[in-house]
């Protein structure tokens, strides 16, 4: 059986075709890259014979650009995702690009201002992240810092990059060097990729400033001219596909980087530090926390799915509400919902965040809110994005008894809750 990349000859009833064997998703179809470069599918049962003319031998990689000494060291930790993968012309498969050489081949500009050290920590689409990965990443960051990195870049699939940013904020408070999560909305194998600009901006920020922030570095707009460093605890992916999908939530970017130009940073962002008293307290990888969005026509059984979980984050409507009022014949279920919330809150921790995306929880305004507080739902008056609230709840439950976790949830620990609801852009 030929392997992807093998030079083959296939013979159908009518004719023979030369080409390269390509992977096929459909077992009934054989895909061949013809000499024109086009891939075409042939029905397997119409092919009389496939002959391998030449086995595929990967072209040896060349070390192209020697890295110069004496430049700042930037550690790049790869976790997979769109940014460091591309489709192989020869085999048609997706190949990962992780070594410093691979990166320099793709982004030769990087070598001009920094010495790269790069490593594959995990290779995944980011929706597959688990708490265990957060712990591994945090340990890698500490190790890289110990090994003298001036800054650390984590390449990451974009879907849950903001969850990871929040998780690292609890695991690695007060980072002594910048730790920047960088992703791409367009893959690196296309001319229009945003990976290059996002990566270059992160390198520019690390090499041209002495700030030490934990943040997300992505496109400012859909144009290719500037990137922003977004706060780790207050950022969300707000669009499925746009380059500017990441936006600050009830806050503003920490810095703006014009590519090859100036860096504008907020006045009060912290500077690099040579000492770091880490207090690394990992996630308990067995902790189970669920998230349940409120909607109309709910059933108590939806809530009871989370029986046995350590925590549940309700995505309340508006200021922090759930359908718990029985006022007519159609809303009898709501009483059952209230009871299910009560019972969950007794055995585990039930917190609330708003599904509106922006704004502060306030369960004092309407009576259903007050009833939720009485039912044991915590989180009144916090203004965390729900993703941060979820991470925080899990992290608290990893380290504190329930009662203490409940108390700490609404208190600001690492910058996740702000006392002032400033007037910010809503995106």
């Amino acid at each position: 059986m030929p392997q992807p990349g093998d030079r083959v000859k296939i013979a159908t009833q009518q004719k023979t075709y030369d080409g390269f064997f390509m992977p096929s998703l459909n077992p009934k179809i054989v895909v061949i890259k013809l000499s024109s470069g086009y891939n075409a599918g042939f029905k397997r049962d119409e092919i009389k014979k496939i002959t391998v003319l030449k086995k595929y031998v990967p072209t040896p990689k060349k070390h192209i650009l020697p890295q110069s000494e004496g430049q700042p060291i930037i550690a790049i930790l790869h976790t997979g995702g769109t940014i460091a993968s591309r489709v192989s012309y020869e085999t048609g498969g997706v190949v990962a690009q992780f070594t410093p050489e691979d990166l320099l081949v793709q982004f030769p500009e990087l070598a001009k201002c920094a010495t790269l050290r790069s490593r594959l920590v995990a290779n995944m689409m980011s929706e597959n992240m688990r708490f265990a990965h957060y712990n591994i990443l945090a340990k890698e960051v500490i190790a890289e810092w110990k090994a003298g990195a001036t800054g650390i870049i984590i390449t990451h699939g974009t879907d849950t990059m903001h969850f990871t940013a929040a998780a690292l904020s609890f695991l690695l408070p007060r980072v002594p060097v910048s730790v920047l999560l960088v992703g791409a909305q367009r893959s690196s194998d296309r001319g229009s990729t945003d990976a290059a600009q996002n990566l270059l901006a992160a390198v520019q920020f690390i090499t041209q400033t002495d700030y030490a922030v934990l943040g997300i570095c992505m496109h400012k707009t859909i144009e290719d001219n500037a990137c922003v460093i977004l706060p780790a605890l207050r950022t969300r992916k707000v669009h499925t596909s746009r380059r500017d999908a990441f936006q600050a939530v009830d806050s503003s970017p920490l810095a703006e980087i014009v590519i090859g130009g100036n860096i504008k940073a907020n006045k009060d962002i912290p500077k690099r530090n040579s000492v770091w008293e880490q207090n690394f307290r990992p996630f308990d990888e067995k902790i189970r926390v669920g998230v349940l969005p409120m909607h109309t026509n709910m059933y108590a059984s939806e809530f009871l799915t989370y029986k046995g979980f350590d925590g549940l984050l309700l995505l309340g409507t508006g200021l922090g509400h759930c359908p718990i009022i029985t006022f007519d014949a159609h809303t009898k279920e709501h009483n059952a919902i209230l009871n299910s919330i009560k019972s969950l809150a007794k055995k585990s921790v039930v917190a609330i965040a708003s599904q509106t995306g922006h704004g502060r929880i306030n369960m004092d305004v309407y009576s259903p809110g007050r009833m939720l507080i009485d039912a044991g739902v915590i989180g009144n008056l916090h203004d965390m994005p729900w993703e941060t609230a979820f991470i925080k709840l899990a992290w608290l439950l990893s380290h504190y008894p329930k009662k203490e976790a409940k108390r700490l949830f609404s208190l600001n620990l690492v910058g996740e809750i702000t006392p002032i609801s400033a007037l910010n852009e809503i995106t």
């Binding site: 459909n26 895909v31 024109s36 891939n39 075409a40 367009r186 990729t193 290719d224 746009r242 380059r243």
Partner: protein, 607 residues
């Protein structure tokens, strides 16, 4: 032409065609309408493109050239007809099914084998014309062939792909494109290099054009079909010529390209080795030059670089194509690779304000022997350097005979250098679109226009009229009307359909687009004698739809006619009687024929 044919044979002329035809459907990978616009765009987005490293760090040559230009691309769009897909801000939607059906029809029309699974590919293009850096393209059919009076021509591939954005302007390193054209479905039909004489190229292109239009689903008008040529002669190279808008130009383009290759081959035998001097800064010779081009450039901080070219005196002025010398060719390389305005060469100077004295000094400064030539380029230092390097590279390649490249067609049949021939290693799977299993057996074939026209001739239409009716898409309407509206004759119906819009344009300078319904109302009324033939032009001039106005032109009954005439006579009491008759006929002729009017007038006057 027969002599030409002989010459082409002797040269070993081989021509292949690549025909790109826009389809009249929605865009290929989104639901935006495929409309081309000239109005003010609603927004613009600035982007950069990168040359993407391919296998083992190799970057496509064409890609590299483009990246050297460090260009910024601006994309203009419209809120109502451009979406996130065309902005490269959203993955493509599934391939437009209607376009696929048309592509399958065309593949069947050229007797191709349709692939069992269609794989959409990404073709790397980094000149900015495709916002993503690649064009999406899919192979639909292979190994087709067409036959006609022109012989048998193979059709190795039929592709369905998206059109590129159109270039609006270019200044310095900024190129502006508009996204309206990006994503319009194109069918690409490539022929094998089977064409051996220039006229045949046109005949084959015309035949393929007819096949495409027979689907009735292709766009019409300037720029909606593009014919690229691949031309080579024995010992020459395959040269791709892009941008021929007019079919009639194809024979001349082929002829001139064969000539260019022949001339280059001759040069390569004359010059087995090119002797080139050092690139030298000659700015100091021109500090007080009267040449405006040079003075302006120096004023802006520019420099003049010069280079000696051994033994080539007289050769830079040698024509490769009518009006295009070797010097012009080198100048195009300089322009394309660095953006300079052009170059000066020894065979054209003194000229452009450069004096004989200056030429003499340049020759001395560059140590030119009597039969040596030289080239000067003036502009910003970086640009000049790059331009000179491009020129030197092209000169040094002269002994290598013809260089593979892409050239741009000019309306006079000549061509100019556009870019290096892209490497073939530049198609990657489009991982955002799932492969498609086509069902060609469910696709019905359209009737060919040639067959349709034959059918119309059989019912009595002249060959020209039949072809016009078919090419304007009125054949079905015509056949329908002929069947329904006897005794109106088929040729009258055909003439009317073809000529009415033309008459209105000529006579009143208005453009009308009558619908089938308009014609049905018209011919029905004519068949029943409810209106006169004389009224047709005025009826269409009064306004469309015809149904709203036809009453105004209905033929008058005896009584109505009498009343009208009486009214007119009263209103013309003071008009001399000689003139009255003519005036009455003039104002009523559309609603009754002159003979009837005269009869009634006589009756009234007798009373």
């Amino acid at each position: 032409m027969d002599d030409m044919k002989k010459m082409d044979k002797a040269l070993g002329l081989k021509v292949g065609l690549e025909i790109h035809q826009q389809l009249d459907t929605a865009k290929l990978f989104c639901s935006c309408p495929a409309v081309l616009r000239d109005d003010q765009p609603h927004f613009s987005v600035t982007r950069k493109l990168r040359a993407v490293a391919g296998e083992a760090g190799k970057v496509d040559i064409a890609a590299q050239v483009e990246q050297l230009r460090e260009r910024t691309f601006i994309y203009e769009g419209y809120r109502d007809t451009t979406c996130l897909v065309e902005l490269d801000e959203e993955p493509p939607h599934p391939l437009n099914p209607e376009s696929l059906t048309i592509a399958l029809q065309v593949a069947k029309l050229v007797n191709a084998t349709i692939v069992s699974e269609i794989e959409v590919m990404r073709k790397t293009i980094v000149n900015g014309s495709v916002i993503s850096g690649f064009q999406r393209t899919a192979l639909i059919g292979i190994d087709g062939r067409i036959e006609g009076p022109f012989g048998t021509v193979t059709i190795p591939t039929i592709m369905l792909e998206e059109d590129a954005a159109k270039e609006i302007s270019q200044e310095d390193n900024k190129v502006t494109y508009r996204l309206d054209r990006l994503g319009i479905p194109l069918i690409e039909i490539a022929t094998g290099p089977d064409i051996t004489d220039p006229q045949q190229a046109m005949d084959v292109a015309a035949y393929i054009g007819m096949l495409l239009r027979s689907t009735e689903k292709v766009k019409r008008g300037l720029g909606t079909i593009r014919q690229d040529l691949n031309v080579s002669i024995t010992d020459g190279q395959r040269i791709e010529i892009k941008g021929a808008q007019d079919l009639k130009l194809l024979p001349l383009l082929v002829e001139y390209e064969a000539l260019r290759q022949k001339n280059l081959l001759e040069l390569s035998t004359t010059f087995k080795k090119i002797l080139i001097g050092q690139i030298t800064d000659t700015t100091s010779l021109f500090l007080s030059s009267a040449s405006k081009v040079i003075a302006d450039a120096l004023h802006e901080g520019g420099i003049v670089l010069g280079i000696r070219i051994g033994k080539m005196r007289g050769y830079l002025g040698k024509e490769l194509q009518p009006g295009r010398r070797l010097g012009t060719e080198l100048s195009d390389y300089a322009k394309v690779h660095s953006g300079v305005g052009g170059l000066f060469h020894g065979d054209e100077l003194p000229k452009y304000g450069i004096t004989e004295e200056e030429v003499k000094r340049v020759r001395e400064f560059l140590s030119c022997a009597a039969d040596d030539n030289f080239i000067l380029i003036v502009d910003e230092p970086m640009k000049v350097k790059r331009a000179m390097e491009a020129v030197v590279a092209r000169l040094l390649a002269l002994p290598n005979r013809v260089i593979k490249e892409v050239r741009r067609a000019h309306p006079d049949g000549t061509t100019s250098y556009m870019r290096p021939m892209p490497g073939s290693a530049r198609l990657y799977p489009e991982t955002d679109v799932r492969p498609i299993s086509p069902h060609p057996e469910k696709v019905a074939l359209p009737e060919l226009w040639t067959e349709k026209a034959k059918r119309l001739q059989e019912i009595g239409l002249g060959s020209d009229l039949a072809q016009t009716i078919v090419s304007e898409g009125h054949a079905d309407l015509l056949l329908d009307c002929i069947k329904k509206y006897q005794p109106v004759t088929s040729s009258f119906i055909a003439e009317t359909i073809v000529s009415i819009p033309k008459i209105l344009l000529r006579k009143y300078n208005i453009t009308i687009n009558p619908t089938a319904e308009d014609y049905h109302f018209l011919f029905a009324a004519l068949a029943k004698g409810r209106i006169t033939k004389d009224a047709i032009v005025d009826l269409f001039h009064t306004g469309l739809p015809v149904r709203n106005h036809i009453e105004e032109f209905s033929v008058l009954s005896e009584d109505e006619l009498k009343t009208k005439i009486k009214e007119l006579l009263v209103s013309m009491k003071d008009v001399p009687s000689k003139v009255v008759v003519g005036k009455i006929i003039g104002s009523l002729k559309l609603r009754a024929d002159a003979r009837r009017i005269m009869e009634i007038l006589h009756k009234i006057q007798k009373v």
